[in-house]
Symmetry: C2
């Protein structure tokens, strides 16, 4: 019988148990194992079990306390530091099984800075994953309360919903009240790394006035979030004072919230961005918890007109400079990218990022390939995301149908994740990622052999695939029928080819005779 | 006030009145004119007015009868013949206004075979449009009854719905009962060219048995449909007997219905495809009505595994040979393409098609860039469609969410058309099509200036954009508010940048002082 269920594959030691979605197939086909991000499931009031707890404790970098661990002074317990020291951590072994690659490749890519394994010592609930161009392309989903709408419970539900459909990381972009409690609930219930943009909370802390921001307020916010277990943080340290004028004459100016906040601060004081001037201090803090840096593109283009302009690329060069500094502190780094970019300008983004940022992983928002389709920006951007993934981007930040229009609800989160899983997998195929095409082949073979339930279970979204089939042919026998409602039984080319296949197997000449002798019927009449 | 309405732009003579959707903008911005395919609207029982009637009559190629015109013997009243003779027809002039290009460019591209203007002399209701790589990328929507479900009235409603959202041509793929009447209703009510696959009806005529098909049955079907006014016909003349074995060992064999029907016929008789052997006769018929040929890719790949294989490319070479024959008969031609193709293999499809088929326009189905997402194939294929459009494909055949699963309903038709309008426009931008970016710029400027209603009216789907905005901020004042629910008023980067812009305009130093003096407030408090 065709089924889809979670299985755990044991790694080199029994404490490494890696989740997969296993699809049992009919027709004598071998089962297919799919990457699985849904986590073990949790009671929101209890949280997830601390999978990585023993590994973290064994390394002796943190003093365990009641809630979270407290990093010991002077230690830099980052996956980058361990990789550089030649140590393959349990997290790396977990990832190796998950990606079906040698553990040493995982270590090497992290050591070289070409991949990151975001894993805050205070987020032991996370299942290790890796972001790098040599690995499967990953997808991030943004959630978070806003000043206008939504609650903590809703956001935890969105987290679980997003990882169910395949989100590899989740960013909590909450900006409303209760920002600390919302984040706590999200981290404790998240099987995937959690990212944040700490400047949002820092701004709340100073009453919403960018002019009142300071390094000290920001630093305290970062420490608070690092203690909670945030795995990576977006920091807009590349928005330099001298770059701000480059952005003001654009069609859409500065569209990054963090970017516009820091631009306001720079202009107010006519001073350099404190995130840039205090960057080394920031790295010291992040290294203690193994918080990865996501260097934000505060000057990313917000429209086709502004793509690949001077403001964008000036900042990107600075992000490359900051990458070196972070690496000196053993801090893992990825680089954020745009935004809105027409197709012919996408490749240049990856090429420059890889060159200027020393091959640090690229993490892009879309890009949207046209501005004309609000309500469909999951599609305008899935096009760009697939392409930029093909060119080497390691993680794609999703865009939902509500982009530019409102806060995404549950349906929007799913639509965004699915569109981006499509883009990521299309990129894996185009990059020739080993094993990627096996999934397509298994599904297409099931399709060709009319194993409908196998086809549904292998789908990115089995529920909707089945529902759409039910919409026109709801009866159970239709699930084994050798046609669908699209063409009906008389016109099914798949059915026809199957019959031709038998003939072709036995030489053309005889085939023709047999075919006519058999009545020349190439389909089953509708009965 | 911001509005969107249909206007007619007069051409070089008063009988040439070209429709556009004109968006009046606020904020002192000039109006934007968008390409419009929705037609003048019709009472389904009456049909549309015969816009092209006087032009056709004036050329004297047809003897007018009660219903349709009867082509005069020996005439080849095709747009290709006129273009080659140096004549710029009213249809070409109409297209020139519609595409905002010189009429002589239209004539040259048609004369060279690089573009087609499908315009059956018996479909005078159509508004002329052009398919060629030098023009805007076009979108086709498939509709049609199947043996399992749907009625004529439903299909006419789908036609109107598809053109409302931007379908440039519509293919009637009906396979069920009443195929003639359904097509009649569709043609009489269609402001866009109608395409068909005559082999479907021919197969119905012989009781569904491919072995009973013959040139004579096919020819009579083509004449019947040409008399009705079908503007282009898909003909699978490139499925040669010797190519069939190349396809049988594929993961998904032959997935084209027409391809599998002709393969069955070839195998049954061990004879060459009669569409190939009688191709010149077919062209003589098509030339009399100016029916354009869409040379079908009966061996297109139906899965990632089968992309760009020997079967596919063998047939493509034959289509190039047939293109020459069609041109000798003054028949307009386009070439159909795949299907399922991973991103890194897309460009090769266009390059080979352009070379082997002598730059005849390419018309592709998608391609789908992965097989794993049934229920989302409008997205898997919009990615491929955008890319193949960028590389030079002239028309994209849409794929709906129901692809592989069932017959598309009204919602699916809209979802497919919108996804493909996105792909087509993204391709226009990437090709640097003159004027394409003006649409994006107008919308982005409206977005940046919080002209919400302008933004909605400029959208590909104003209804849904507005509905999504209403979902979180339904109040009318929100339509002029300087923020949306996504970030709320405190965090709107657009608002912030607008304020920065004023400061930046007056030098950095003074700006800093002013900014602080003004209270450093960069947002409007939520009141």
């Amino acid at each position: 019988m065709s089924t889809r269920r979670k299985v755990y594959v044991e790694g080199p030691s029994p404490d490494i148990r890696v989740p997969f979605a296993e699809v049992e197939l009919t027709g004598g086909e071998p089962p297919v194992r799919l990457y699985d991000t849904s986590g073990p499931g949790s009671d929101p009031d209890v949280g997830l079990p601390p999978l990585r707890g023993p590994w973290i404790a064994a390394r002796g970098d943190v003093a365990p306390t009641a809630g979270a661990g407290t990093p010991l002074a002077g230690r830099r317990p980052t996956q980058l530091a361990y990789a550089r020291a030649g140590t393959i951590t349990p997290e790396m072994r977990f990832v190796a099984v998950r990606e079906n690659v040698p553990a040493d490749l995982v270590r090497e890519e992290i050591a070289a800075g070409r991949a990151i394994l975001p894993a805050n010592v205070n987020h032991p609930e996370s299942e290790p994953m890796i972001i790098g161009s040599r690995f499967l392309v990953k997808v991030n989903a943004n959630i978070g309360t806003s000043a206008v709408t939504s609650s903590t419970a809703e956001e935890v539900a969105k987290l679980t919903w997003a990882t169910r459909w395949g989100a590899d990381t989740v960013m909590d972009l909450s900006t409303g009240a209760g920002i600390h409690a919302t984040r706590e609930a999200i981290v404790r219930n998240s099987p995937v790394p959690i990212g944040t943009v700490p400047i949002y909370q820092a701004l709340e802390a100073v009453g919403g006035d960018p002019v009142k921001l300071s390094w000290e307020v920001f630093r305290d916010t970062v420490i608070e979030q690092a203690e909670q277990g945030v795995d990576y943080m977006t920091v807009h340290a590349g928005v330099l004072l001298r770059y701000v004028p480059l952005a003001v004459e654009r069609v859409t100016g500065i569209v990054s919230r963090g970017g516009s906040i820091m631009a306001a601060w720079c202009l107010a004081y006519h001073e350099e961005n404190f995130l840039y001037t205090r960057f080394a201090e920031l790295c010291e803090i992040l290294a203690r918890y193994d918080v990865a840096l996501s260097l934000g593109d505060g000057l990313r283009p917000g429209s086709i007109a502004d793509a690949n302009d001077e403001a964008q690329f000036a900042e990107l060069r600075t992000l490359g400079e900051l990458t070196r500094v972070a690496w000196e502190h053993d801090v893992q780094v990825m680089i954020e990218g745009p935004g809105h970019v027409p197709m012919h300008k996408i490749k240049e983004n990856v090429d420059r990022q890889q060159e200027w940022c020393h091959q640090a992983p690229f993490y892009t928002l879309g890009p949207l390939t046209t501005d004309i389709a609000p309500a469909y920006d999951h599609i305008t951007s899935a096009i760009g995301a697939a392409m930029i993934g093909m060119f080497g981007t390691a993680m794609l930040c999703y865009v939902t149908p509500k982009e530019h229009l409102g806060l995404p609800d549950r349906d929007d989160v799913k639509a965004g994740v699915i569109a981006y899983k499509i883009a990521a997998h299309a990129a894996d195929l185009a990059k020739g990622h080993p094993g990627a095409q096996a999934w397509d082949d298994a599904l297409s073979k099931a399709r060709f052999e009319f194993r409908w339930t196998d086809q549904f279970n292998l789908s990115l979204d089995p529920d909707t695939a089945r529902a759409y089939h039910d919409a026109t042919l709801p009866a159970e026998p239709a699930k084994t029928a050798h046609f669908c409602s699209m063409c009906g039984p008389k016109f099914c080319s798949m059915k026809l080819t199957q019959e031709l296949k038998g003939y072709a197997a036995r030489g053309m000449r005889e085939k023709s005779t047999e075919f006519v002798d058999a009545g020349g019927r190439v389909y089953l009449p509708l009965t």
